[in-house]
């Protein structure tokens, strides 16, 4: 709020979306937007602990982690990266459509975002399945014997150290996937509201802050992809 006295300037305009404790719609928008940004700050710290652990063990167990990383399917990972980047585009389109009252484009973009989200999760599921089949899931059945360290044909990777890689791989991508699922939930809700015609150029904050969240989850993946898939790709 500014310093100027804001004594119900918009009092004469009935706005059902304006909650009682806000003086005007702009204040409500600003609050919601700041709230989401602050929340994303906490999310950075949440993932930050994992990135910290990653960096330490990557430095300690350089070769073992290279060997472990090589078992991931880089094509599937790259495809998923492309899928998410495209979904960010559709989110931006949705926000623009909501602000410019293009209802069909809004619903179409939201649906397309949902489809891309499901594609991402589907591909992730295929990758997880492959890991289960190859006993690369940490735990009692984990196996990583006789795997050579890339660039050192005479050395074998230490299974325990590779297991830490896979533990972090599953926790990081698992938490990311959980965020994707929550994001899909939010976008299903946004789609139904858009279908009802709730979003107008005057009221579209949910689309905007839902979009912020979606972009954030994309960005996490943009970091996860090179760290997990691309660390040792020379032949």
């Amino acid at each position: 709020m500014t310093d100027s006295p804001v004594v119900a300037v918009h009092g004469e305009v009935e706005n059902p979306a304006l909650l009682h404790h806000f003086a005007e719609p702009q204040q409500q928008r600003d609050a919601a937007s700041l709230g989401m940004w602050v929340f994303l700050g906490t999310e950075i710290m949440f993932f930050g602990g994992l990135f910290c652990a990653y960096l330490i063990y990557r430095r300690w167990y350089f070769g073992d982690w290279g060997a472990a990383s090589k078992t991931l399917d880089v094509t599937l990972g790259a495809t998923n990266t492309a899928v998410l980047i495209c979904s960010s585009l559709t989110v931006v389109l949705a926000v623009w459509a909501a602000k410019t009252a293009r209802r069909k484009l809004l619903i179409g973009s939201l649906l397309l975002t949902l489809v891309l989200g499901f594609v991402f999760l589907g591909i992730k599921g295929i990758e997880y399945k492959e890991k289960f089949e190859n006993h690369h899931v940490p735990g009692p059945s984990f196996q990583f014997n006789n795997v050579k360290i890339p660039g050192h044909p005479d050395q074998y990777a230490n299974p325990s150290h590779a297991e830490i890689y896979f533990a972090l791989y599953f926790i990081m991508t698992g938490l990311h996937a959980l965020h994707m699922i929550i994001g899909i939930g939010i976008f299903i809700w946004l789609t139904t509201k858009a279908w009802e015609g709730r979003f107008t150029p005057d009221y579209n904050t949910p689309v905007e802050i839902g979009g912020l969240y979606w972009h954030f989850v994309d960005i996490i993946w943009i970091y996860l992809f090179p760290l997990l898939y691309l660390i040792d790709r020379h032949p």
């Binding site: 404790h21 906490t42 972090l168 926790i171």
Partner: protein, 550 residues
Amino acid sequence: MSMASASIQMVERENYLNKHYGVGSWLFTTDHKRIALLYLISITFFFFIGGFFALLIRLELLTPAGDLVQADTYNKLFTMHGMVMIFFFLIPSIPAVLGNFLVPMMIGAKDLAFPRINLLSWYLYIIGGVMMLHCMLTGGVDTGWTFYVPFSTAFSNTKVVEAGLAIFVTGFSSILTGLNFVVTIHRMRAPGMTWSRLPLFIWAHYATSIIQLLGTPVIAITIVLVAAERALHLGIFDPKLGGDPLLFQHLFWFYSHPAVYIMILPAMGVESEIIACYSRKRIFGYSFVAFSSIAIAVFGFLVWAHHMFVAGISVYSALVFSLLSYLVAIPSAVKVFNWTATMYKGSIHYDAPMLYAFGFIGLFTMGGLTGLFLAALGIDVHVTDTYFVIAHFHYIMVGGAVMGYLGGMHFWWPKISGRLYPEGWAKLAALIVFIGFNLTFFPQFILGYVGMPRRYYQYPPEFQVLNVLSTAGATILGVGYLLPMVYFLWSMRYGKPAPDNPWNAAGLEWRTASPPPTFNFDEEPVVTWEAYNYDELKSMPVNEEAPVDR
């Protein structure tokens, strides 16, 4: 000021307490004042559970032999005392009760920015609390509240995961409270309420919220890792499998050291309000006190490894962390000096909240100075894991945070309940708490210095005298804590109705009814004055109801 002399109407005005009745109107409320009361009831419940564990600990330590409980039981007692008191009482105490009630009122807002998220945070707290109770009733935990690996992941056969998840859930309640405060302070201030006019209580809560927002997610992810490691036998923290137990300690203390400032900063905010009011003076060095809160929040994130000086960290990082830990003393001392300077030549009134404030200053200074002992590399090695550490952090958390909480509860009780508490009893309770506290914890400084380690259920006979003193003090302290609960409850029915501004205080929250209407102010306030403008209130008595005793 006309507000000060506002007459007490015989017919109760409509306010947040009597507007709606029934359980549903409380459980589904989005009114920040009602949520504050929900928190008040819940944290009081957990305070007495944690206190019960403390009592059992002190009873066991009455004699050198381990005779009251088994060693395993004792391990669980101090673990659950720590977990309950830290995560379920101290961290939510001032922010979730007084902060929830006062932040919107002090800045002239109708509510917090996200009232439903505020209610959600209380439900998360309750879910976490129920999980913790279930965990305690079905066996408990014995790792110490610090969850150190590899004991917690590979050896302890108690309910580590369940307790961890309880703290995980409660952590999100803390995050949501912090998020609400930050957004509210940025976006919901009344016209004219500029940053430099904010009460220092608000600055303190802003700094606290930053820590809650940036620290709590780190302990959350650490708990996830511990739970996963324990459930799936991973090796992330297990040295046998190539993991790094020190990484756990780094992640744990990255939250848990700043968490101390989550407890103490709001209490400092309370002190600034009380001391200005009962000295009838503008706070000395407003901007220094305000920014020292921010400085404590920032420095607080840079000192965590001083908990690990004996854990095998490199000597260079120990040096750096030692130096940074000394740095925290600067903004802390700024506050203490400025409070003292505020009192200098003020017209000091010795009412109960001020007695708590005096207690706070003394005990916090003791706790802070012994903190410097612990930041010094050489002395820390000598006293690590002894009762010296226990005494030090209880001076901060109990002597500081709890004194601040109690002082604040008295100061704002008329606003919260619409009733005055009995001043004589309140002074007596403040005195009992102060005496009981010092008798409990001062002997522990000596015990620790001469070598009694923490977390043992028996000790050599030569330590008995000091331990008996400590246990005796704990009993007195217990009485001191029960008293306010009794007379607060009593005053809700029999206390004198409180005027809108019983202390002639300067804050915005005193310019509305006691108890306030649901939307806090009948008209949106427009602020045209600086904080703590006590100059015009100077000649007014601080407490019209109290008998003249000075």
